[in-house]
């Protein structure tokens, strides 16, 4: 069992009204924007389950939009995220999907596009109490919570890549807390997610990127 902190009980510090529908929503899109190089020019949100039904009254839309601009759950700017997005010329939309029901009740798909034209879709679930889980990156099922600092590596599914990643980490004396590997298919695109206890050094990104089989490296700090 992971450590339940006094501040998991007395917290999170958050913009209301709901830890799952507001704070969790902000947290999911905060994590999502960390996975793509900014700045973003477009973010489209598809809402499922309870998110689709009650997103307006819970400020889920403002929270999602705030998170995608990098606001944390206790950032007062969440209230005005619509205006701030307009100022930044960030295009956005919200689409409730009430047809798909075989899904966690508080789920959102976030389709992002940055100024270079790169696109990425991230699916997140809000689990309650501000806790969240990222369950899909593009079409690949993944599983990570953002509670630990993480390196997300998109690479070719070929021998030696994972060994190369772990060597980059061990060379910098980084202790791996969790490590998971996901792939679209054999020999296809694969995702390695490594979670670590401490803050990760930023120079890990260019180091891992040097390997020609590695397409993209992202770092999500705790």
């Amino acid at each position: 069992m992971s450590f339940i902190s006094a501040f998991d009980v007395m917290g999170p510090n958050m913009i209301g009204p709901s830890s799952s529908h507001t704070a969790g929503a902000a947290r999911i899109s905060y994590l999502a924007q960390k996975m793509i190089e900014g700045p973003l020019k477009r973010a489209d949100f598809i809402l499922y389950g309870s998110f689709a039904k009650t997103y307006h009254g819970h400020g889920t839309d403002r929270a999602l939009l705030g998170g995608i601009m990098g606001f944390s759950t206790d950032d007062m700017r969440i209230r005005n995220s619509f205006d701030i997005a307009h100022e930044k010329d960030l295009k956005f939309s919200f689409t409730p999907n009430e047809q798909e029901t075989d899904i966690h009740p508080n789920t959102v798909d976030i389709c992002m596009e940055n100024e270079k034209g790169q696109k990425m879709t991230v699916r997140g679930e809000s689990l309650g109490g501000g806790k969240v889980r990222i369950v899909k990156i593009n079409h690949v099922q993944v599983d990570f919570t953002g509670e630990y600092s993480a390196v997300i590596v998109i690479h070719q599914d070929t021998p030696g890549v994972v060994a190369y990643i772990t060597k980059c980490l061990s060379d910098r004396n980084i202790n791996i807390a969790f490590m998971r590997l996901f792939r679209e298919g054999k020999g296809d695109i694969a995702y390695t997610i490594v979670e670590s206890d401490g803050k990760l050094p930023e120079n890990i990104v260019p180091a891992i990127r040097e390997n020609p089989n590695i397409h993209e490296v992202m770092i999500v700090q705790m």
């Binding site: 339940i4 998991d8 009980v9 007395m10 999170p12 009204p17 009650t54």
Partner: protein, 289 residues
């Protein structure tokens, strides 16, 4: 310094001769791999947010996002000024601050989920009222917030604090148990008395369903936060008077969880039963859309 249940917590208090709050604070420093200064700084921030959230709607009421609440704290405060209050100063203030915090929450203000956003008014409501009434320092309040955290942690670890899983008894019930325990320590009660107070609250709020109108954290959530501080105060008073409880806190946490799982889904935060489906609620909900 780890404890898995209230029994182990009480044994630690006894062995180290420390209050509940200090055991929880030391645990946080040890397992969070951090320092005393950092945890105190974080809890100082918690108190700061709690004060803003509890006081600002009295001066400046705001309508909630869903339009179901707003202005209640100001009304209570004006009523108290007329000196015709029924509750007495302490409870009157506690209820005002609890309802105010839910107003802040429902209007997208900054709050501390304690343990959840929907129950965020109870711990600050009671403790801030006690601070004013008995002139406690911020340091004393910050210390007993660790006591409240210990009770919340036990519920999170061994049961649930999610309305969707265990009903309102898991949110408002647990928050009130946390507040009651912290109040007992603040008034000089023993660790055992803290657990008696928490156990009493869970007993008195057992079975409370979660049926928010329109699925929003507004109504009856705000009323139930007011009821929660009253329940906490009653339980703390009984514990401080030396009234023991037959059923232990560990048993009550387990019972709350067992009962919670038996509450039908309609009454667990789905807005498909209880208050949420009354005619008035459905009409109001139509208006707010």
């Amino acid at each position: 310094m780890e404890f898995k249940n209230a029994n182990e917590l009480l044994a630690l208090c006894e062995e180290k001769n420390l209050p509940v709050s200090e055991i929880m604070r030391i645990r946080e420093i040890e397992f969070g791999e951090t320092t005393s200064e950092i945890v105190n700084k974080k809890m100082t921030r918690v108190l700061e947010i709690m004060k803003d959230a509890a006081f600002s709607p009295i001066r400046q009421p705001i309508k909630s996002m869903g339009g179901l609440i707003g202005g209640e704290a100001r009304k209570l405060s004006l009523h108290a000024q007329e000196k015709r209050g029924l509750c007495g100063e302490l409870l009157q203030k506690a209820v005002t601050y609890a309802m105010a915090t839910l107003e802040t929450n429902a209007s997208m203000g900054l709050i501390v989920a304690s343990p959840t956003a929907g129950s965020a008014g109870i711990v600050p409501g009671l403790l801030l009222a006690m601070q004013e009434h008995y002139d406690f320092s911020d340091e004393e309040i910050i210390q007993v917030l660790f006591n409240a955290s210990a009770i919340g942690y036990l519920a999170m670890r061994n049961a649930t604090v999610a309305g969707a899983v265990g009903g309102c008894q898991a949110e408002v019930g647990v928050a009130s148990a946390m507040a009651a325990s912290a109040a007992v320590e603040l008034m000089g009660g023993t660790p055992k008395e803290c657990t008696f107070a928490a156990s009493t609250v869970l007993m008195n709020m057992l079975g409370l369903v979660c049926d928010p109108v329109g699925g929003l954290v507004e109504y009856p959530c705000q009323n139930r936060n007011a009821a929660g501080v009253a329940n906490a105060l009653i339980a703390a008073e009984m514990a401080l008077a030396g009234i023991p409880q037959l059923i232990s806190l560990d048993e009550m946490i387990q019972t709350m969880f067992t009962v919670g799982k038996k509450i039908p889904a309609e009454l667990r935060e789905t807005a498909m039963g209880g208050c949420a489906v009354t005619q008035s609620a459905c009409e109001a909900c139509h208006i707010c859309r």
